[in-house]
């Protein structure tokens, strides 16, 4: 597959608009809560799917993902924001536990070699909960009308302690 990292990064960061909104309530299926929406690139018309998954038994195990969904059906999972489900680095001697929120991102070099697009997750401190991850995700993938359906994530700061 002929794709560059710039192509993948552009698909992730291009401004998108929700065209098929999420359900009002998450759907519980197969031991997890699921929801999602369809978005389109406002400039080029590229189509994307966003999924959200939260494990019922262990809600800290969550994933929010962006899938590129082109007309030819060659879907590609571009980005996943994961919760603290366990170690993300290759397991090292000593078995030290380090559960961190982390990001899986598609890499062109893997796609070019016919591998699954993403490699090891990169730990992040940008969020510490599912709601924070969802908020960060919606901003990072530039969904311009996210407040229409996820307005509860946009909590204003109280002016406490400010002069």
């Amino acid at each position: 597959m002929d794709v560059t990292q710039q192509d993948l990064d552009q698909l992730i960061s291009c401004t998108k608009r929700m065209v098929a909104p999420p359900r009002r309530e998450d759907e519980v299926r197969g031991g997890h809560r699921r929801n999602g929406f369809v978005a389109e690139d406002v400039a080029a018309g590229e189509r994307f799917q966003v999924f959200t998954r939260v494990l019922v038994r262990l809600p800290e195990n969550s994933s929010i993902g962006l899938i590129h969904d082109p007309p030819d059906g060659a879907r590609l999972l571009l980005l996943r924001y994961n919760g603290q489900h366990g170690p993300t680095a290759p397991f090292s001697r000593g078995g030290e536990w380090h559960a961190t929120c982390h990001i899986h991102r598609a890499y062109a070099r893997r796609v070019q070699h016919g591998l699954e697009a993403w490699g090891d997750g990169a730990p992040t401190q940008a969020w510490a909960s599912y709601e924070q991850a969802l908020h960060a995700f919606l901003l990072d993938v530039a969904v311009e009308n996210w407040r229409d359906y996820y307005g509860h994530l946009d909590q204003p700061r109280l002016p406490l302690g400010e002069e």
């Binding site: 197969g30 262990l58 999972l77």
Partner: protein
């Protein structure tokens, strides 16, 4: 001096095992087995109040990961997953893989369970890479082989000046309305077929539309409603079209 592999492995394995108490009755076992994205294979031990292990479980993580790529509860896929799990000796119920511990030997059950998780996880590769590439080819072969007496034409544009409204196959019966056949395997194609049908109807074309799905249930409800309200006939999968397609064409067109 020759290496004592058994002794070495026995000692090393202990270095690569760890646990984490996730809930009062649930312990995560950390093993050096990873998915392609580096995330560890999810294995948990359910234990009694006294701390005795009774069951291995994935807590639903395997199917949740699979659901990123496909509808794990679509009839075809759900059956495949259950069969793979059963063949690997684990239970699959309500989205959770489990293996009850019959004895106090945790290690062999653990290895069996990890193997089952990786085999079920590989379903996404098989379904996505192999089956996806076959649907349109299989439809094409059937149309050209079994329906050749209907003079099939491929990639037909019924409305001049509207090349974007393309029909996969036009089938012709003498003296009857042509059948416009669409193969649909994903949301984009479903919507394109719906748009085509809608525009052809608005233009008062004389035709009968037929949609053959790869997997009807894989579409969202909204898209299923869309094509159902516009198409004259749908076949929920290729197997149904092979069985009943010719007879329907002869009756309705």
């Amino acid at each position: 001096m020759a290496m004592d592999y058994a002794e070495t492995l026995s000692q090393e394995f202990g270095s690569f095992v760890a646990t984490r108490q996730r809930r009062p009755d649930l312990v995560q076992i950390l093993l050096p087995f990873q998915h392609e994205d580096g995330d560890l294979v999810d294995v948990f031990v359910e234990q009694t109040d006294e701390g005795r292990p009774v069951r291995l479980t994935d807590a639903g993580m395997t199917l949740m990961r699979l659901s990123y790529y496909c509808d794990t509860e679509a009839p075809g896929r759900a059956n495949v997953i259950e069969r793979i799990a059963r063949q690997a000796g684990v239970d699959s119920s309500e989205g959770v893989l489990t293996l009850d511990l019959a004895t106090d030997d945790l290690y062999p059950s653990l290895m069996q369970f990890v193997q089952a998780v990786t085999r079920v996880s590989s379903v996404k590769v098989f379904r996505r890479e192999v089956v996806r590439s076959l649907f349109y080819e299989q439809l094409r072969d059937f149309v050209h082989d079994e329906l050749r007496d209907l003079s099939p034409s491929q990639n037909v544009v019924p409305l001049p000046g509207r090349p974007e409204l393309e029909v996969d196959y036009e089938l012709v019966l003498p003296g009857q309305r042509p059948v416009y056949l669409f193969g649909v395997r994903d949301q984009a194609k479903a919507r394109l077929a719906a748009v085509c049908c809608s525009e052809f109807l608005r233009s008062d074309l004389r035709f009968v539309s037929c949609i053959v799905h790869e997997e009807f249930d894989s579409l969202t409800k909204r898209d299923r409603d869309l094509v159902t309200n516009l198409a004259d006939k749908q076949f929920t999968d290729l197997a149904e079209f092979r069985l009943h397609g010719r007879r329907w064409i002869g009756r309705c067109a």
